[in-house]
Symmetry: C2
Subunit: 199 residues, 2 copies
DNA sequence: CAAAAATTTTAATGTAGATTAAAATAATGC
DNA sequence: GCATTATTTTAATCTACATTAAAATTTTTG
């Protein structure tokens, strides 16, 4: 999970661009951020971005692919580490939040999927669906193994994912708050999940 | 809470416009929706919208004012109806969701506050802050009266609000799902709030 | 260090979509 | 039914970016 040391200069710069873009998009919205905004963050010129992405739509697309990939990693890690459904759910939340408020962040909120072009949109939607499904599977596993109280996994998943997805809306990189989120969120979001008497 | 019957034609039409705009913004994002998109929803021409709002920025602003007002109503009602902190929290979630998925909906997600002009932005941010504070007060009240387990009210509030705010992202007006959300969400979001042994 | 490749900038161009003004239509009051 | 007022449309204009091409600069390689 460490950053690959043998990344090419191109890949490194492109990653910086995606992070800067994510920051801008999360803060000012898609329309609100011009390519100039993004490039200014990097001490570059707007035209320079075109060396890395074909156009603005692709910039968003890449941000979303990156977000999806980071989410996927958190999920895999959690499934590997947790010894029952409940633990896997808790760890996933923890790992995902670690990424979002940590140095890999910020991660782009997928607010603008509809403005992607058809093929990109379909791809991102599919990744997004897969991600939700995986989380619902975790919840089901927990219900089966008795670590999670029986519940509507679809809705519970939506609730938890919503909380997480919304974080970048109010978290703006304050280190103190990062620690608070890391500490509190996994507990808050799973508190009601355990079987009766487990708190 | 019923729709005032003596609304002027202007006010009715303007309300329709705000709802159409909210639908578009939630679905296609701010940038993704042109004024033509909004007007098409109503069988109007884009230019006609300018009879009701000064410009696009003001359209968003009005949508957000409306969202804030509806949220405020749900909060007031809940505080009036609930007999302890826990009940007030549960009722607020319930009432707010009723509004969002009911016929007053859709309600605009406040995703684009940053693209509002300074005075509007400040006003909406202030309303938003007040709303969060009111909810945190409810949580504190619950902790005091013993109906809610001691917790970080700031983070817990953020978590719950995030879940709610994200709903319009995945709910697109399917009646069946509306019922499911209404039934499940209040319970899901408050399940972990009660004191140990209360489930 | 020179030549080649990679990266960035400068300076245009293009375009969608916001905005406006004037004209046309519809609603209302007398 | 006529005059007045409210609403909507048609037909331009205007502008902020996104985008592109060519030139300049920086980095790499032998």
């Amino acid at each position: 999970m460490a950053t690959n040391a043998d990344e090419t200069r191109f890949e490194i710069q492109r990653d910086r661009i995606l992070k800067a873009a994510a920051t801008c998009f999360n803060q000012k919205g898609y329309s609100g951020t011009s390519l100039k905004d993004v490039s200014r963050h990097l001490g570059l010129t707007d035209a320079a971005l075109y060396y890395y992405v074909k156009n603005k739509e692709e910039l968003v697309y890449q941000c979303y692919l990156r977000a999806a990939e980071l989410g996927r990693r958190a999920m895999l890690q959690a499934v590997g580490d947790g010894h029952n459904g409940f633990e896997q759910a808790r760890l996933y939340i923890r790992y995902h939040i670690d990424i979002m408020v940590g140095k890999e962040g910020p991660v782009a909120i997928m607010s603008e999927i509809p403005s992607l072009k058809r093929p990109h949109r379909n791809e991102v939607l599919e990744l997004s669906r897969q991600h939700s499904s995986k989380f619902e599977e975790i919840l089901e596993r927990g219900i089966d193994d008795g670590s999670i109280v029986p519940c509507d996994v679809r809705m519970t998943g939506n609730a938890i994912m919503g909380s997480i997805n919304w974080i970048p809306k109010w978290y703006h990189g304050k280190a103190v708050m990062a620690a608070e989120i890391r500490d509190e969120f996994p507990q808050i979001l799973t508190r009601g999940l355990g079987p009766p008497g487990s708190q």
